[in-house]
Structure formats: structure tokens, C-alpha cells
Subunit: 394 residues, 2 copies
Amino acid sequence: MTALPPFAFARIPDIHFGPGKLSALPQLIRRYGHRALFVTGSTSFVRSEAHARLKEKAIGSGIEILHATLSGEPSPEFVDATVAEFRGKQVDCVVGIGGGSPLDAGKAISAMLPLEGSVVPFLECVDTQKHDGRKIPYIAVPTSSGTGAEATKNAVLSSVGPDGYKSSLRHDNFVPDIAVVDPELMLSCPADVTAACGLDALTQLLEAYVSSKASPMTDALALSGLEHVAAGFLPAYENGANDLVARSHMAYAALLSGIVLANAGLGVVHGFAGPIGGFFPIRHGVVCGTLFGAATRANIDALRRDPVANRIALEKHARAGALLSGEATATIEDGCNRLLQTLDRWIAATGIARLSAYGVTRTDLPRILDKSNNKNSPVTLDRQQMQAILEARL
Amino acid sequence: MTALPPFAFARIPDIHFGPGKLSALPQLIRRYGHRALFVTGSTSFVRSEAHARLKEKAIGSGIEILHATLSGEPSPEFVDATVAEFRGKQVDCVVGIGGGSPLDAGKAISAMLPLEGSVVPFLECVDTQKHDGRKIPYIAVPTSSGTGAEATKNAVLSSVGPDGYKSSLRHDNFVPDIAVVDPELMLSCPADVTAACGLDALTQLLEAYVSSKASPMTDALALSGLEHVAAGFLPAYENGANDLVARSHMAYAALLSGIVLANAGLGVVHGFAGPIGGFFPIRHGVVCGTLFGAATRANIDALRRDPVANRIALEKHARAGALLSGEATATIEDGCNRLLQTLDRWIAATGIARLSAYGVTRTDLPRILDKSNNKNSPVTLDRQQMQAILEARL
């Protein structure tokens, strides 16, 4: 066994995991007070029976619910407007319920409620003001298994358009105080969203696992997440509302993907996702899912050029291949091939859209490449290699 | 793969791990203010060069250091007296530096400083008052690799004697805010303490791994800890001050043992450790180390009586056996045997003392057994089976 690298591992949320755990939410809110600001998407959860039951139980527990509703991905304007509306209302805690978008919106709102002014100067792409980490307590309740935003320390805000960007508000303190992960809430997630979110979680687990910033602790959690992706990915996509066990595997895997990405960073797929998501109205999970196979192939090809120096990264890809394919592999070569075959098979089975379906053309590649990077990838791809990934998925 | 059990996982400290990390302590203290109360043991660390350098750097960073010194294991009287001395002094953060004893003392002091009165009514064995979780921020800096107190939510206080007890002050909020784990601080740990602490950490990892309260998250972390015990246990014992790599493996393993015990509970060895440590002046690590082999044998024997119902627990013991012995094992039977052989070998190699060396005799067994229990063991041993464990190590 190699020597341990030095590492930092930030705090994680207080996790409450399991079918039916949503019913514990009112008593968790009461840890902080009696006035909660719910931040949700505009569609499915708000219309669900689970939401009606939750509201009834919360009101019965003496909780006053305020409500902000988000459409699509959160913009700085949405955060600023919501904070302006609720800043004087003595909110005791913020509760984000939904996919990555409402969860990140809630995270940003909880962080901006105690401050004055707009969120924009605090975003990483502007960075003219430093946040001191003060916030209103924040509870995250995911309804999809994807971004792991219930466990991360950053809120991604989007401004979509020709000069669009995706940028994070980030602080160690912004890790949600509590994550309530109830796989029953994921049962109604449509198949295409299930596939895209699942591939996002898988991308995050693999990118963090092979990351140059990985530690034994993130490795252990990433492998556990990958095991559960292997058990749950296709069944959750194929069986939808009828497979709570598969939904549980994916809910767990997504949660762990958030924990490991927060502590080990990500790779080239996420290095593309920011710019592409800023320029085009493509769901984050679709960007990740569509690029993941080609990017992993490019990484493995690049690593194989120096198999001695890159032994550990190749071994990790091979181990992920054995886990995801469920087949024992005799050699590193074989394990890496299994990984690529499994990703190809899953991407084909779920029919994840190509970039061109959202209007991306060859002429857009230069400006995407100008803003993309390798993040904490174990190997640095050059511009040509990165362009080949995009071309493979146009 | 089996369905996921529902689980809770509490917050963990903000972890700073690696050789030399002690030098980051002053800037971490400054997150909370400028007046720090150090709680240390009375011996080695205080006389070390590392302590002199730390004090110099802290003073240079504008930090005022107050200091409380503990001898042996912390008693309620020590906690009360220290809190009485420093309660009015506007301490911004408490820093515990040392083995499990100073770390738990600092944890209890940080929890009692904001309150009035004695810690006694809050102890689990008294339980006439509930702690509300308020505390002064707490930073834990272990100098031995054993209890994992840098990551647990309870402080064990001891009152040793014929009516003695060990009992915990416990709250999710008492998980240290920050853990600074610097393996250089463990280099000077004497061989006998290294062995006892290492066996304590190993006991905690295995007991949490096979616990009835285990979750996939605690399993992943426990296995990672066991891997590093396999790499570091004997080298740390044998090479002492000359093997920073082995010390790093054990420092990591001990940290993870604290995280998993806080979230999955413990087993019968720790069900004995409280009463024995209350009645007799035996170090906690020695109690655990001396009983661990016999207790694991008793557990495996009991589990083998119904191998179908106990398949998962037996598989886990076997997997731990393969990891610790470093040998691939073909069957569950074989893996369990390897585990027992490895523990026997390590306990013999380190010459951990028997209970009789501390004055425990056959006539003491009834009152020890009256107060002992199985905790979260995967199998319930009856009084006779538990007595046999003690007799094997008299």
C-alpha cells in the first residue's frame, strides 16, 4: 500500500436516509425554529401527495411555511429577488426540495439572507467580495438522484445566453446542515431525467475517484457509490416508479457523489459542463451523460501512453470497470475496456441526446473550448483531445 | 446486492490530515477568535519541541493560550473544576491535544463552558438533565492512534473505584468542529501504548463494521480503515519513531474508527470496557486489546451456529480476515479463521497484558458481567459466553 497523501475533508451534512424519511422533516425544522422558507421547483413535487402530507404535518407541528418557487436552473436574479422578498421575515431555516436546481437555489438563498446586496460579486467568476460563511440553517431534500447538491458546498448559478455562464457561490459552511434523502421521492422521476441524473452521479463518482485530489477517504466513499450505481442504474431507468430498491441505490450513490466531489474535485466532463450549460439550455445531467463515455475513453487513451507513471489512475479505472460491469477482470487493460463497454452500453440503452439536439454545432466548439478545462483530471488533455470529445458527441 | 437499510450519519469534523498539519492550528483557531483554552495531558506533548513551536506560532498569530492539564483519564471533578476556572474568561475555542483522555476532557469542557453547574447530571448513567448541544467551538488534535475521539460525539468520563463507572456526555453537536490529524505527533508514542491504541482502533473498526447498526457508508469507511490497519499496525509497533508511513496509516485508521463508531455503534468488547475501566485502573486500549481476540472468537463461534441467518455478518468477518492477513481467502470459513489467526498473532507479538496483571481475579467477574452488555454486536452472547471471554484473558 502506498503512503497516504495529506488531505482535507470538509464537514458533511447530518444525513437522514431511507424510504419515508420525509416525515422526519418537520421535527428537523424545529431544531432551528418555527418559520421555514421552502424553495422548490414549480412542477412535480409541489403537486404531489407527499407535498400535501408534508405541509399538513409541518403546520400541525407549529411550523409556518413560506414558499419560493423556481423555474429551470437558478439565476443570480432569482436568488437576489427571493432574498429581497424574505430578508426581513425572520426565516429560521431554509428547506430546498427538488433536483439540483432548487437545492442549489436554496443553498444560495440561505447564504445570502444574512447579508446585504446581490449574490453576483460573491460568484467565483466575479469574485470581488468574499463571503464570510454566515448563513441561515439549510436543509436539503433531493427528489432526483443526480447532482448530490444535498452534500456539496457550492451553489451553481446560471446565466444562460451568448455571454452566459455557470458559476458557483462556494464556502465550506454552505454544505447543507441536514440532508433528508428519501428514495420514495424519486419514484416519480421520469425515465429520461432518471438516466441523465444517474449518469451525472456516476460521472461525479468516477471523476472524484480518479481525481488528482483524491484521498483514501474519498476513494472508499466513491467505490461504495459506484457499487450502488452498478446495482441501481439500469433498474431505476427501466422500472421507474416500481423499483424502490433501485431508487434507493441511486439515491445513495448520488448522495455519495456529492460528498466525494466536494472533497476530491471533478474532471474534464465537468470542465465542459459549465461553459456548455452557460451557452445552451441543456440540462446539466444531459451534458454530463452525453460526454461521459467519450471523455472517459480520451482519458484512458491518454493515460495508456505512459502506463508506468499512470498505473494508479489506470488501476482505478479498471476497478471501476469491474464494479460497474459486475465482472471480475484479470488485467488493468481488461478492466478499463469493461468500463468503456459498460458506459457505451448504458449511454446507448438510455438514449441520452447528443449535443446537436440542443443546437450545438461545429462552429460553437472554439468558444466552448476556450472556457473549458481539465479540472482535477488525472491526465491533462490538450485542446485537440478535448475537441475530439465534443466532436464525438455532436 | 441487498437493499439499503435506512440509516443516519451525523456530521463529521472538518478534517486536516497529514504530516506537519499541526502548523495549521493557529490559523484554524483564528476562525473562532483569539483566546484558546488548550487541554493536554501532563507529560510528553507538553515537553515536546512540537509544543514549543506551536505555542510560539500561536502567540505570533495573536492568540492568547490558556492551559488546563489533565493526569490520567478525565473525571467529572476535573471537568467541573476546569470549567469553573475558565467559565468567565471568554474562551473563543477549546483545543484538546493528546490521547483519548485529553481529547474527551476538552470535548466535555467545550460543552460545559456555556452552561451552569456540574457535568454529572448530564452523564448517560445519571441522565437527570438534557444538554441542549450548545458549546464553545472545539478542535481536537490526537497524539496517539487509538480512540478516534477526534471524530466522536461523546466524551467518556471516569470515576474509578469499587463503585466506579465510565459514562458519556453525548450530543451530535459534540463532534469536534475540526480535527487536526498530524502523524508526526504519533512518532514518539511508546511501543506498548502504540499497540494498545492500535488494537483499540482495530476493535472499533471491526465492531462498527459488523454492527447491527452498520450502513453502506460506515462499511465503506470501516473497510478503508481496516486496510490501513493491515498496512500500519505491526510496522508502527515495531519501528516506532522511524516509520512515519506506518504512523500515517494508523492515524488514518484511528480517525476512521471514530467516524464509524459514532455512526454504527460498537460491540461486546466495548460492552466490557466501560465496567472494567470503571472498576480497575486499566487503560481503555489495553482492555480492548486484551479481550479482542477472545471476543471475536466467541462472536464467530456463535454466528456459525446459524450460518444461513448470519451469512452477512460471517462474510464481513471473513472479508476483514482477508484484509488484515493480506491473503486472499477462498471461503467464509477460511476468511474467519484468518481473522482469528491474525488477531492471535498480533496480540501475542505485542504482548498485551492480561486482566490479572491489573488485579482482576475470578471473584470480580460477576460484578463485571452484571454491568456488561453486547452493545450493537451482530450476535447476542449470553452471560456464560461472555464470562468465557473474560476467563480466557484473566
